[in-house]
Symmetry: C2
Subunit: 354 residues, 2 copies
């Protein structure tokens, strides 16, 4: 069984790790949100991508879920002494990732190739793909400050401003990275990991399906930094074609690929992050049901926590099969167990069709 | 007595530190070479400037002379794991300097203002000025590889290629940073520290004396990185006027400002760095005499090591006063002692004129 998982940050990374413990590398591709990427100190930082890769590599900080294990903070301390902005934590080891990624992007290399090489260096055997090699910037529209770049909303303002909408700058011209559409087409099932529907999964689902043109070959040494188009190559024109969500995947109308989401909301709350708060501020009572509604028309199956079992019936009424299980992932073995439940659930969906 | 010192890296930083131990902040300005600046991993790195500032701040690594004391290397180790270029050492604390400088340069702030603020944060009380806010790049022309950016010649190739010349890219349009010409005009004496004449002192001496126009105000947030002109603002037009070396300083023809150099070559060798090797490869037998010849027409006084006392007479024949003393600086007290000798020598030169 071939699986493709769509993931954002910590929650998504945990389930992806569980699936990676159970599936061989050739059977699992993880597509990661890049809408939360940003530039800081001239470095190109991909928080979701790093969280997923560090988690799969066993390099993630087991306490925070983000950042690296056994991290040190010498650079951060020295930055504070200089009065530098310190709202975003830059660990010494983590910095190396941002530095080398920035160097290679400035040489003209695509993010997907850089990510592939980093994964190899870190011993990640499964395929991790950034959703796009083109820059997409999630902007959070807030009552208090107007539009904020996602990391400012998320880290600098600790998700405190009240949300009234989102904008994914650049998404209209961003193309799925090489391998993304193939992974979706070739999968028996696509798993929407327990990530934030608004800011982690939506950007991936709304990508255009225009195939990626060949990336320009690396610019001359040092020249990359002198181009007028920022660290990443400018998005190229061409946005025709339906998005990932609407792309004609085989089997959407019959047996074949199944889309299964795992709720990031348990008992009306999120384990981590602002998803529940966002639902509420947008006028939707946060619940697993609200998540299922958000993915309406896409899902074959939905996994919700035992705490929310009462919501299963309402979800099933929309012709979505449900699995009720313990969805909390506190330990590595939890990840594996939930992943096993999800796999069994998907197998049952596929079998039921035959 | 007001002094202005011109300095490059380790040797220059040591004497500057000695002078700073003896002179109050208002009486000493240190002008530092920026021709060895370069960009690496998207960061803007100023090796000479950092060496001087770290040394004056008491933050320098006492063993190497460059880099920071009690440095850690987590980022560097993680970079190696990623297969990143590792020829230039980036300590974790040192990285903070490059990161915050890069961030502020991208906001449109001039290097001189950033350096001033860094010095304040580090507790450096004397004025340290980069020679220019405009980018200058020392290129070393070598037999083996043609032109190499200075840091590649110096660090990556460990000064091994044979030198046949130098080029200071950008120097023709670079203006002295705010305060540089004033410091030269107002000084009773200018000290050429024991730095490399070819690649540390020459770039400073050959700067144009066109006053620096007002620096553009900081660009909009994030916008700085999108400009097509690299990390630092492009050099602005305007190169009329004589250079620092030729600028009409008061007293060059009579009592007043005196130019005094301290030889970086002792017994035909350099304590550190490739100055002697460069002299030899350019067909000039390396010696304190060769250094004095290099500065011919500029000097009132020349300080050479006791090991080279035999050369004093030849130097004096060019109408340059000499001081023979122990010029090796192995310890902080050596720095202070040599600085005291230099100060006494300068006082004697000034007194002799009255």
């Amino acid at each position: 069984m071939k699986l493709t998982a769509l993931a954002g940050g910590v929650g998504g990374a945990k389930l992806a790790d569980g699936l990676a413990q159970l599936l061989p590398p050739e059977d699992l591709t993880i597509i990661v949100n890049t809408g939360d990427d940003f530039e800081h100190f001239g470095l190109y930082i991909c928080p979701d991508l790093d969280t997923v890769c560090y988690t799969l590599a066993g390099l993630a900080n087991p306490v925070t879920g983000w950042g690296r294990a056994e991290e040190t903070w010498q650079a951060m301390e020295a930055l504070r002494r200089l009065g530098a902005p310190d709202w975003f934590n830059l660990g010494d080891r983590d910095l190396a990732t941002h530095l080398e990624r920035t160097r290679r992007l400035r040489e003209g290399q695509p993010l997907s190739r850089i990510t592939r090489d980093f994964c190899r260096a870190w011993g990640v055997r499964h395929t991790v793909l950034p959703m796009s090699d083109d820059p997409v910037r999630t902007m959070v529209d807030t009552h208090e400050y107007g539009e904020l770049p996602f990391q400012e909303y998320f880290v600098k303002y600790r998700c405190e401003p009240r949300v009234r909408g989102f904008r994914f700058a650049g998404l209209e011209s961003a193309r799925p990275a090489p391998g993304v559409l193939e992974a979706l087409r070739e999968a028996d099932a696509v798993v929407l990991c327990p990530s934030n529907p608004w800011v982690s999964i939506d950007p991936i689902l709304n990508l255009t399906s225009t195939p990626h043109p060949p990336f320009p070959s690396p610019a001359g040494k040092g020249e990359g930094g002198r181009r007028g188009d920022g660290v990443r190559a400018s998005p190229l024109p061409g946005r025709e074609g339906p998005g990932v969500r609407a792309s004609p995947l085989p089997g959407r109308e019959g047996p074949g690929v199944r889309w299964v989401a795992v709720s990031p909301i348990i008992g009306g709350k999120t384990v981590k992050g602002p998803a529940a708060k966002m639902f509420a501020e947008l006028g939707i009572p946060p619940s697993a049901l609200a998540v299922a509604e958000r993915y309406r028309g896409l899902l074959t199956g939905f996994v919700l926590d035992t705490a929310d079992s009462a919501l299963a019936e309402a979800i099933q009424r929309a012709n979505v099969q449900t699995l009720i299980t313990d969805t909390l992932m506190n330990s590595p073995s939890d990840r594996r167990r939930l992943a096993q439940d999800v796999l069994n659930f998907i197998r049952s969906l596929l079998t039921a069709d035959r």
